[in-house]
């Protein structure tokens, strides 16, 4: 059940059988959610963290006029709100983009992990640091990259992150989100996303249609994106 989570963790560090058991037994319940459901609202008091098992979720913030900025996409294997363990409520919302299966981990069991498994605690600390690094990269994209480069970078990041959990290969990956949701990630309108996708197709970089990202030429895509995966901390080392 937590295979993808373990794939993500073990891509960067060792996780012992004992630690694996501790994670598995920390789960209190498994739940299924439909697509487009806000499952955690900002300022709501939280007593558990949510581990995404299947599907895609996102963090978002919105304005009073309904405009929404998606701040990070979550892929299977991600804790979507490990930071709620210390924050106790979030300053943002969490929503499903597709039908999702999640596992809930009560904060009291996370506390027990911090007391009994110091190395696993550091691995999870690394996880929240990694989320912060992804936010910084998105900030760079939203503030400074052109629409074309920003969109290319978005596809590159997801290719790496989905690849780590066995959901992407050299040909591409399934990505069943709408252009409107893409627009909310990229700070663009859906028409602008459409126009940008056309340009990426014409430059033979990537073709995104009908929920599938088809990599036409990864080297071209990465060049357009100025993609440097260093912010995803892909090195495997002891934490």
């Amino acid at each position: 059940m937590i295979d993808r989570h373990l794939m993500k963790l073990r891509a960067r560090d060792d996780v012992s059988a004992q630690e694996e058991q501790a994670i598995a037994s920390a789960i209190s319940v498994v739940k299924d959610y439909p697509a487009d459901l806000t499952v955690i609202r900002r300022c709501e008091e939280l007593i558990h963290s949510t581990l995404l098992l299947d599907g895609l979720m996102c963090r978002y913030k919105d304005l009073r006029n309904g405009e929404r900025q998606i701040c990070e996409i979550h892929v299977p294997g991600d804790f979507v709100d490990l930071h709620s363990f210390t924050l106790k409520h979030l300053d943002h919302n969490i929503m499903t983009l597709t039908p999702c299966r999640v596992a809930l981990v009560p904060h009291e069991r996370l506390r027990a992990i911090t007391e009994e498994f110091p190395h696993l605690t550091r691995v999870y600390w690394f996880g929240t640091n990694l989320d912060a690094a992804i936010h910084r990269e998105w900030e760079l994209s939203l503030g400074r990259r052109s629409a074309l480069s920003r969109t290319a970078n978005f596809f590159c990041e997801l290719h790496v992150r989905l690849g780590l959990v066995g959901l992407a290969d050299d040909s591409g990956y399934d990505f069943p989100v709408t252009q409107i949701e893409m627009a909310e990630c990229l700070g663009l309108t859906s028409v602008h996303v459409n126009r940008t996708l056309k340009e990426l197709r014409e430059q033979n970089a990537v073709d995104f249609r009908r929920g599938r990202v088809k990599l036409l030429d990864l080297a071209i895509l990465r060049r357009i994106a100025e993609f440097d995966p260093a912010y995803l901390y892909l090195g495997r080392r002891q934490r």
């Binding site: 052109s146 309108t189 028409v191």
Partner: protein, 84 residues
């Protein structure tokens, strides 16, 4: 709610909207078209050019054109004296 499709015609050619957007009425679709034009133009201005010879067709499920929003109608343009 109705599904509206916003097809873009501009200097890079024709960009078909395959997905469409669920909106309450044509007025909302028009607002989205205007926002979209401003968004596309702002990116072009950052790159140093602005070409107002474009438009967005707002169409329904059966591709009937409900409205045509020209780029020039989406912005108020003030030129320096002597320019036209």
């Amino acid at each position: 709610m109705t599904r509206f499709y916003l097809h873009l015609h501009n200097r890079i050619g024709f960009v078909r909207d395959y997905e469409g957007t669920e909106l309450p009425d044509l007025e909302s679709a028009t607002r989205l078209a205007i926002d979209s034009i401003r968004d596309v133009l702002s990116e072009e201005v950052r790159a140093g050019h602005m070409d107002l010879r474009g438009h967005i067709d707002i169409v329904d499920d059966v591709q009937t054109i409900l409205a045509v929003i020209s780029f020039s109608s989406a912005i108020e343009l003030h030129l320096a004296k002597g320019n036209s």
